[in-house]
């Protein structure tokens, strides 16, 4: 996979889906450069990575190759230029190559008028929304 910062890596991809358990929220926080600084237990469980493997890594470690770049295009514009929260349906990549769908919301953490990081919360989407997102992202590839 190629990432926006020029880096790349080879990823294993399987068709095995892990469903988010009811009632769980995946929470993470990054610094202004998108480097993970905090994850909750649900994040660790769903991603398949250990906490130690996640902290200090770029958040795009979870990006699934089925997610078109254009799907994230509005994220930075919404967060930084418009100062609003971004949300969307996202297919995430697990460490073992499987995937999980989430409804993600991202907000900029503003302290003294400075963006000091980003908080992201991912929750369980309905299957109807997942199907719609799958069709949309396929058409954008």
């Amino acid at each position: 996979m190629q990432y926006f910062d020029g880096s790349s890596r080879t990823v294993l991809v399987t068709d095995i889906e892990t469903h988010m358990p009811d009632g769980r929220l995946i929470v993470s926080r990054t610094d202004p450069d998108g480097i993970i600084t905090h994850v909750n237990d649900s994040f660790v469980d769903m991603s398949g990575f250990s906490r130690e493997e996640l902290i200090g890594q770029p958040h795009y470690i979870l990006r699934h190759p089925d997610m078109p770049a254009v799907a994230f295009k509005g994220l930075w514009q919404t967060l930084l230029e418009e100062g609003k929260k971004w949300h969307g349906y996202v297919k995430n990549l697990r460490k073992d190559g499987g995937f999980y769908w989430v409804y993600a919301t991202v907000i900029a953490n503003v302290r003294n008028d400075q963006v000091v990081g980003f908080t992201s919360v991912r929750r369980k989407p309905s299957r109807r929304k997942v199907k719609e997102a799958e069709a949309l992202y396929e058409s954008l590839q």
Binding site: R24, N40, P125, S126
Partner: protein
């Protein structure tokens, strides 16, 4: 000068006397006069908050957001190991056992507890349910929600987990939890208003030391706490960011 202290209306009524004992302890520790003003109505308390009536508040995460960002309150402590979780409850004989089995037209019974209602609405999303295709009736107490469910006057009830767990065995035998949140990072917090911030260090230390004496432990028990944890501003800012993220 008398300082005014209040507690989020979602406290369990069985801890009512605990909060009065806490208020007395606070006065003895600080040498200041505190008046404890308790509410059973979120709207009335919010109106009083808007009128700057309080100097010390044990706030739910939703109100903490307004108090810190708009009213200049600072967080000093939170109960150790205690996070706010919500549970969606149905009658014991309700035929549906999963969130995804619920459908449009769902009748919800809920208090006006803002974070519980927000968490529970989020837990309904996998069934494509939201404000647009459900109806909600608001009740003053959690016991009334249980009655609505048992009488079949609502399909689901939104409970604070701790309050649901404290319902009597007889009431709980007529109900069943459908889904429970595991958010882990949202909690109530004790906040100091601007007029009291010159006492911040002393009050905070007294709270942290409470667990070190038998009398303090007994008082903590009367609030169902094991200890107070120190809270830094950034901890609460993080929680507020999280609440902002969750709000639709």
């Amino acid at each position: 000068m008398t300082y005014n202290f209040t507690v989020s209306p979602d406290f369990n009524p069985s801890y009512l006397s605990g909060w009065f004992i806490f208020n007395t302890w606070l006065q003895r520790k600080t040498g200041e006069a505190f008046h404890l003003d308790l509410y059973d109505d979120f709207d009335l308390q919010r109106k009083a908050i808007a009128e700057d009536k309080f100097d010390l508040i044990y706030a739910n995460p939703y109100d903490a957001s307004v108090l810190v960002r708009e009213k200049g309150f600072v967080p000093i402590a939170c109960p150790a190991g205690k996070s706010d979780e919500a549970v969606i409850v149905v009658a014991a004989d309700y035929e549906i056992d999963t969130v995804e089995g619920l459908s449009a037209g769902l009748r919800i019974t809920a208090t006006k507890d803002p974070d519980v209602n927000m968490m529970c609405m989020i837990m309904l999303e996998p069934a494509d349910l939201g404000r647009q295709n459900t109806t909600t009736q608001h009740r003053d107490t959690y016991v009334l929600l249980a009655k609505d469910l048992v009488r079949g006057e609502a399909d689901v009830g939104f409970f604070l987990e701790e309050t649901y767990n404290k319902l009597s065995r007889i009431v709980k035998s007529q109900l069943k939890p459908l889904v429970q949140s595991q958010i882990q990072v949202i909690n109530h917090v004790l906040l100091l208003g601007p007029a009291l911030q010159h006492r911040q260090a002393g009050i905070q230390q007294a709270l942290l030391d409470m667990v070190t004496t038998p009398a303090g432990q007994s008082l903590l028990e009367s609030l169902s706490f094991t200890a107070w944890d120190k809270v830094e501003s950034e901890d609460t800012e993080f929680m507020i960011d999280l609440m902002d993220t969750l709000e639709t």
